[in-house]
């Protein structure tokens, strides 16, 4: 396309050809930059010694060790429970909010809109420490005083935080889906005698589903990957997968972390494939 504009001047066409080559070289260099570290990581997860740079032979030992590592399995279970619960809750609330904001005018709507975008914009560490202070200095003492119930940081507090940062992402994604929404379909359904409930489940919901699933997938990934909000709301007893990996990485590099990372890489590839399938359906 761009080549056509250069026929006027020889110098321009030479420049363009150079530009094209440079463009390609730049892109493949970036791909190398993005993938070489990951490939090295994967290769050395199969090394049969503790070295992460000298290849000494093939082995699956580091993977076998993962499955008998009790703290790791507990962290994985925590992560999945938190991601599952927070995805369900945030998807339900985010979707309802997108519908409400899109269709019904009400007072304070624009200020609520600002609150919905703020969690996306402010640095995550600020959200983490704000929840830490809230639970320790307000929520727990209040619970103790009113209900004589002692609560500490753990899986429930992490889940509460994850729901809070996931709602805005689901909201933004579902709301984008509502932008091109053809509302005459709903009117047609109602003209044909469907009540509002039926119209929602038979017309609105199926049409919104790709957006809802996209938002849910985003929420699930964000929750599984989250480090900062989790770190400040986890306390000491219940690490998630990222917290566990972090504690290992701080101690140094070992093939065991490589093996664990490779498992997680495979899992996120799975998520990418799912998201592509979802997009194709749109």
């Amino acid at each position: 396309m761009i080549a056509g504009c250069a026929t006027r001047r020889g110098r321009g066409s030479l420049l363009l050809r150079l530009g094209k080559t440079a463009l390609g070289a730049n892109a493949w260099l970036i791909f190398a930059f993005l993938y070489i570290p990951i490939l090295v990581l994967i290769v050395f997860s199969f090394n049969d010694s503790r070295s992460v740079a000298h290849w000494t032979g093939f082995s699956m030992d580091w993977y076998l060790r993962l499955f008998s590592n009790e703290p790791l399995l507990r962290a994985a279970r925590n992560s999945l429970v938190i991601a599952g619960v927070s995805t369900l809750a945030a998807t339900a609330m985010g979707t309802l909010t997108a519908l409400g904001m899109d269709r019904y005018p009400f007072r304070l709507r624009s200020s609520f809109d600002a609150i919905l975008y703020l969690p996306i914009v402010i640095p995550e560490i600020v959200m983490g420490i704000s929840l830490l202070l809230f639970f320790n200095l307000a929520f727990f003492p209040l619970l103790q005083a009113l209900l004589h119930f002692r609560m500490t940081l753990g899986v429930p507090t992490i889940t509460v935080g994850h729901i809070a940062f996931n709602i805005p992402f689901v909201y933004v994604i579902v709301r984008a889906r509502l932008v091109g929404f053809d509302r005459t379909l709903e009117q047609a359904a109602q003209d044909l005698g469907a009540n509002e409930w039926r119209t929602f489940w038979r017309i609105t919901f199926p049409l919104l589903l790709p957006g809802i699933l996209g938002g849910a997938l985003m929420a699930f990934t964000l929750s599984l990957d989250d480090f900062l909000v989790t770190a400040f709301t986890a306390g000491t007893a219940s690490p998630t997968m990222p917290l566990y990996i972090y504690s290992l990485v701080r101690r140094g590099v070992t093939p065991e972390i490589n093996a664990l990372s490779t498992v997680l890489l495979a899992a996120s590839m799975g998520l990418v494939v799912i998201s592509l399938v979802l997009q194709r359906r749109r």
Binding site: M1, I2, G4, C5, R8, G12, L23, N26, A27, L34, P37, I38, V40, S51, V52, A53, M93, L96, G100, M101, R103, Y104, P105, I115, L116, L118, P119, V121, I122, P123, I125, V126, M127, I129, S130, L131, L133, F134, N136, L137, G161, I167, Y171, T221, L224, D225, F227, F232, I245, Y246, V249, V253, I257, S261, L264, L265, S268, V272, S275, L276
Partner: protein, 287 residues
């Protein structure tokens, strides 16, 4: 009439769960941060009881030591954002010019790192640069150096790690903008006598600016408040706002000072983003 009032009342009703959740677990906690930043610290974390009002922690923020760390975080943020946009824009242009049949495969190559756990990717970079890592092994093996180099735990390593971490975030929004841009417009400008540089600066750059703006925000905001990368790639030797805040809630046990610092970071980011959005929109208008 009745339909209208019914509609009016349903809006607030279905946004209520999310509104309550965010007010209770997002807005209220932020207000508590403000409150804590204004009272004296307790000995072992927490705050001193009964509460004592003070502005001490805000005064400490302008101490040259802390101003320096704020400034170096902003500088790292600008360098990383600049690098991501400078190499990411041509990358996005390249992807938009790949034949449609193969384009999804190339896009997938950008999206995989985007969806991959951030810690895992940072670890991969640390692995590569560590003393016993592949880069040092090759250098020593090729006898270019006698002993492994210290590639980690310095500013360069942190910046490299951040660019590595956030580059995919920069490429995708710029790709979306460039893909929508009609390249024949550059052709038209050239036919009208503009050279390539002028056609790019006057036509293509302004029309793809929304993607650049989105990329800048998506990279700068997390980078300036980053914790994982400076912590892992910097190994305690590179201080950024994120690591400094974290220390106030860890070993330093100074929650009020950490709160004041967090609010300063938040204010800086929000004001910066709003200002940036304003000026970049104004910049587009003359066209």
């Amino acid at each position: 009439m009745s339909v209208r009032t019914e509609r009016r009342s349903r809006g607030p009703l279905i946004v209520l769960p999310a509104a309550l959740w965010l007010i209770l677990f997002f807005t209220l906690p932020l207000l508590i941060v403000v409150a804590i930043s204004l009272v004296e610290r307790g000995r072992a974390g927490g705050v001193k009881l009964p509460l004592v009002f003070t502005l001490e922690y805000y005064q400490r923020l302008v101490d040259p030591l802390y101003l320096g760390i704020f400034w170096s975080s902003i500088r790292i943020g600008l360098i990383v954002t600049g690098a991501c946009v400078l190499v990411g824009y041509p990358m996005a242009l390249f992807i938009s010019r790949v034949a449609p049949g193969r384009r999804n495969a190339v896009l997938l190559l950008v999206m995989i790192p985007f969806w991959t756990n951030f810690l895992v990717r940072t670890y991969a970079m640390k692995l590569l640069l560590s003393a016993e890592g592949v880069v040092n092994n090759l250098l020593v093996g090729a006898r270019l150096v006698d002993a492994p180099l210290n590639l980690l735990f310095n500013n360069f390593a942190v910046i490299l790690g951040l660019v590595y971490g956030y580059l995919p975030f920069a490429v995708l929004p710029m790709y979306t903008s460039i893909e929508k841009f009609d390249l024949t417009l550059v052709e038209a400008a050239a036919d009208l006598g503009a050279n390539l540089r002028r056609a790019f600066l006057r036509i293509m750059l302004p029309l793809t600016a929304p993607g650049i703006v989105a990329s800048v925000i998506l990279v700068f905001v997390p980078v300036v408040g980053a914790f994982i990368t400076p912590d892992i790639m910097g190994g305690g030797k590179v201080e950024m706002i994120g690591t400094l805040i974290n220390r106030q809630f860890g070993v330093a046990r100074n929650w009020p000072f950490g709160s004041a610092m967090s609010l300063a970071l938040m204010a800086m980011v929000v004001v910066g983003v709003v200002y940036y959005l304003r000026t970049s929109q104004e910049g587009e208008r003359p066209l």
